[in-house]
């Protein structure tokens, strides 16, 4: 955790006047700062807002958008909505997980580089099956081979600065 983030945390709570009805918004902003919701940060949020830590934990685990474990630098989302599913989302997901050697239940690589998630619909069914990277790049009409090529590009991008150094 970098310095100054803690001050941001209290700023976020203050901005929402510590209102319990703003808990989801507060958690969203906190996650934007930390990239995930560390346990001690949630305990702090509960303390500052005067609610039970179990309640904050309950809200944080209810929504798929919140993560209590650190996520990778690249978040790869494989759409598994109906259209993507019937056009072959599962083999894409499988290929990615195999290439990254992700065991069952684990979404993020141990080096914190990649997180692979499925989503229920990205609203781009015409491009099915769809894969997004960090919600920025959208890759449509994907195949297992195609997604591995996208992954290889990301991996190469990561290795470049190291080679330069």
């Amino acid at each position: 955790m970098q310095p100054r983030k803690f001050e941001k945390l209290q700023e976020i709570i203050n901005k929402h006047e510590g209102k319990v009805s703003h808990l989801i918004a507060i958690l969203q902003e906190v996650q934007a700062e930390y990239r995930y919701l560390p346990e001690e940060v949630l305990t702090y949020v509960a303390t500052a807002m005067g609610v039970s830590p179990a309640t904050v934990y309950g809200v944080a685990t209810f929504y798929a958008q919140f993560s209590l474990v650190p996520k990778g630098k690249y978040i790869i989302r494989v759409c598994d909505g109906t259209a993507c599913h019937v056009r072959g989302a599962a083999p894409i997901n499988f290929a990615l997980r195999k290439e990254l050697a992700l065991p069952d239940q684990q979404q993020t690589t141990d080096d914190l580089q990649f997180t692979v998630e499925t989503v229920s619909c990205l609203g781009a069914c015409g491009l099915a099956p769809v894969v997004t990277i960090n919600d920025q790049e959208v890759h449509g009409q994907m195949t297992p081979e195609g997604v591995l090529a996208v992954l290889a590009k990301l991996q190469a991008r990561e290795q470049q600065p190291a080679e330069q150094a």
Partner: protein, 674 residues
């Protein structure tokens, strides 16, 4: 009061003050099934078992639908029957059906309703995933595989106890009722009151059993087993044997224990009388010498842990008296053992309590004599009933027996400790007698009595008017504490019991442990008190004997050592500290600023921000590692800061810079300009 009536299965029923259809239906003599409905708690509407058909509305959950004039309600139709059975089947499919070996077997509401609604087969597959059981706590065991997600425990803990230890986490088929971050129950702020166990319809939350340990002590010929029985047990245990709530069965319990092979059966009442005397003397001394007031009672271990966790600044207001259970244990291990020529290790003290938190209290490290616990085993009312069943004793046929001496007698004032307001009334009786002399007869103090959550009164003893309050339920206690803190209320003496109704409603009492049963137990306690000739603590000759012969007279050093205790600040939740600055290099100084609730409210956030700025301004980034930590357990002394191993208290945003300069910067082994 609403006017009008509804038609339930063709019968006209007046609505009256009913809040929902369910209440009206029950008034009409029809028992709708429910899991998540408790009149003491908020309406949740989750289990859907109470569905009824209302004409022109269709199927509605009767617990969360208000009645309207002229409603035509059908409670038993083809659809409602089919749905109820389906709901039960779905719950059972998701439930660990190890019924014969479950602690809740025959007392389980799911089991009962499955039978009642004729669920003979389950069409759905079973859940194959087994979740781990949490038995980390001293009192309560959680088996998530038996949880039906009715949320009763969640609402009980939040609404009645104000703690919110339990909540729903995750979603859909993965939903669980769990603690914060899924931590062990021993690592969170649970006070072990057991009210969640009292409302749990299944075996998901049960009391941690000490039955086997009790049997091995009883069967061990080298041990002398001494039992004490709390007041609230004797008006509730009969319910486990089919007697009406509140049946007084004192003599039968004593007889059963003797038949089971216990060496001596004593009464916690004698220790309760001692508590009354010690606490009254402490109270009068505080009144005279300007000690800390209000004085809070200390008999309830749930309240004590709550206070230690949440109100560190009030620890000096807590009476230093040990609870009756621990006074008794101390007397047994320090004096009685010697009297019968045994060591404290050769005597096993078993206490029978209506309470689950007493199990935690007995294991507090301060309550030991020569390295052994003063109270070795704590059984709840239900556990003792279970042992009586295991022993094959026919409870109905037991001839009542009397307690043994010299620790078997108590006054009516001690008996009423089992009811909310009892400790207060007993103190009022003692003080009235103490100041008024022998001509003061019976003192019945009605304002302290009853099931109400908060009772306030003023009592005049001689020329003094004492303002007193009696509170039960920790949410009510918190409410009262806030009023005291804000100056809206002011008392001399406050009795706090964690459970609604006091000990009669403890987490270790038999099912159904609801308001109706608790009221009956309260009435029974006061009936027993009304016919008890020994009325006040000081009228108990055995107590006077013990004080003079064992404790070297009233107010002696021995009495203080054996009967009093101290309290500790206790953190609410375990966990890692929050890193504020990253790892420092060599020669680093570890600085932790407490951001637990007590310190947070006193401005620890500003202190932490000041420190962060100072680290930067002084260029100490490589030297100081700054953390935010949850509780350094010095909650009463202002914001606490730990610098390496030293704890500095009373830090304020104003003196933060000075503290930083004198305590932190100087340790960095480098010259800095501040």
């Amino acid at each position: 009061m609403q006017t009008g009536q509804v038609y339930i299965d063709g019968q006209a029923v007046p609505v009256g003050d009913a809040q929902n259809i369910l209440e009206v239906v029950r008034k009409a003599g029809i028992e709708l099934p429910t899991f998540c409905y408790h009149s003491e708690l908020s309406v949740y509407g989750a289990c859907r078992l109470c569905m009824v058909e209302v004409e022109s509305m269709g199927l509605v959950a009767s617990c969360s639908t208000p009645p309207a004039d002229g409603m035509i309600i059908h409670t038993n139709t083809r659809r409602t029957r089919r749905l109820r059975r389906m709901i039960l089947e779905l719950l059972l499919a998701n439930h660990d059906r190890e019924c014969p070996t479950c602690a809740k077997n025959t007392g389980c509401k799911l089991q009962k309703l499955a039978r009642q609604y004729g669920v003979n087969t389950i069409r759905f597959g079973n859940r194959d995933e087994k979740l781990p059981i949490d038995a980390s706590g001293s009192s309560i065991v959680k088996d998530p595989n038996k949880c039906i997600l009715c949320g009763d425990c969640v609402r009980m803990c939040r609404e009645v106890q104000g703690l919110g230890i339990w909540d729903f986490a995750h979603r859909g088929s993965k939903t669980q009722v769990t603690t914060a971050f899924g931590k062990d129950l021993a690592d969170v702020a649970c006070v072990n009151c057991g009210q969640c166990v009292a409302v749990c319809p299944t075996g998901a939350l049960t009391v941690k059993s000490e039955i086997d340990r009790a049997w091995s002590a009883i069967h061990d010929p080298a041990k002398t087993v001494v039992v004490q029985i709390a007041p609230a047990v004797r008006v509730a245990l009969g319910e486990e044997f089919g007697l009406a709530a509140g049946s007084a069965v004192t003599g039968k319990i004593v007889a059963a224990l003797k038949k089971m092979g216990v060496d001596r059966v004593f009464d916690t009442l004698i220790a309760a009388d001692l508590t009354t005397i010690e606490e009254s003397m402490e109270f009068m001394s505080r009144m005279e010498n300007g000690g800390k007031l209000p004085l809070f009672t200390s008999c309830c271990p749930g309240w004590i842990k709550y206070c230690e966790q949440m109100h560190g600044e009030l620890l000096e207001n807590l009476s230093s008296c040990r609870s009756p259970q621990q006074m008794f244990g101390s007397l047994v291990k320090k004096h009685y053992a010697k009297k019968i020529g045994k060591t404290s290790g050769e005597v096993v003290c078993i206490s029978v309590m209506p309470c689950t938190a007493k199990k935690f209290e007995a294991q507090r490290p301060e309550f030991t004599t020569d390295g052994v616990y003063d109270v070795d085993i704590v059984l709840t009312t239900v556990e003792l009933a279970q042992m009586i069943k295991e022993a094959g004793l026919v409870f109905d046929d037991l001839e009542p027996a009397g307690f043994d001496n010299p620790l078997g007698m108590g006054s009516g004032g001690a008996l009423i400790f089992g009811a909310s307001g009892g400790v207060m009334e007993s103190v009022v009786r003692f003080v009235s007698g103490y100041l008024g002399g022998p001509e003061v007869g019976r003192v019945d103090y009605h304002p302290a009595r009853g099931i109400e959550g908060i009772k306030e009164a003023a009592v005049t003893v001689k020329d003094k008017t004492l303002k007193v309050a009696v509170v039960n339920g920790l949410a009510n206690a918190e409410n009262l504490l806030q009023r005291i803190k804000n100056g809206e209320a002011d008392y001399h003496l406050v009795e706090v019991m964690a459970c609604p109704g006091g000990c009669v409603g403890g987490g270790g009492q038999p099912d159904a442990n609801d308001t109706a049963a608790r009221v009956q137990r309260l009435k029974s306690i006061y009936r027993l008190d009304a016919v008890e000739q020994v009325h006040k603590a000081q009228d108990n000759v055995y107590v006077n004997k013990i004080i003079n012969e064992w404790l070297q007279g009233p107010g002696s050093h021995a009495a203080h050592h054996d009967l009093h205790t101290g309290y500790v600040h206790r953190r609410r939740i375990t966990g890692k500290p929050m890193e504020i600055t990253g790892d420092a290099g060599n020669g680093q100084v570890d600085v932790s600023v407490c951001i637990g609730t007590g310190c947070y409210l006193r401005g620890s956030y500003e202190v932490l921000t000041r420190f962060t700025d100072l680290v930067r301004v002084c260029g100490l980034e490589g030297y100081v590692r700054l953390n935010g930590t949850f509780c350094l357990e010095h909650c009463d002394q202002g914001v606490s800061v730990r610098v390496n191993d030293e704890i500095i208290t009373g830090v304020t945003p104003e003196n933060a810079e000075e503290v930083f300069r004198n305590k932190i910067a100087v340790r960095c082994g480098t010259t800095v300009q501040v």
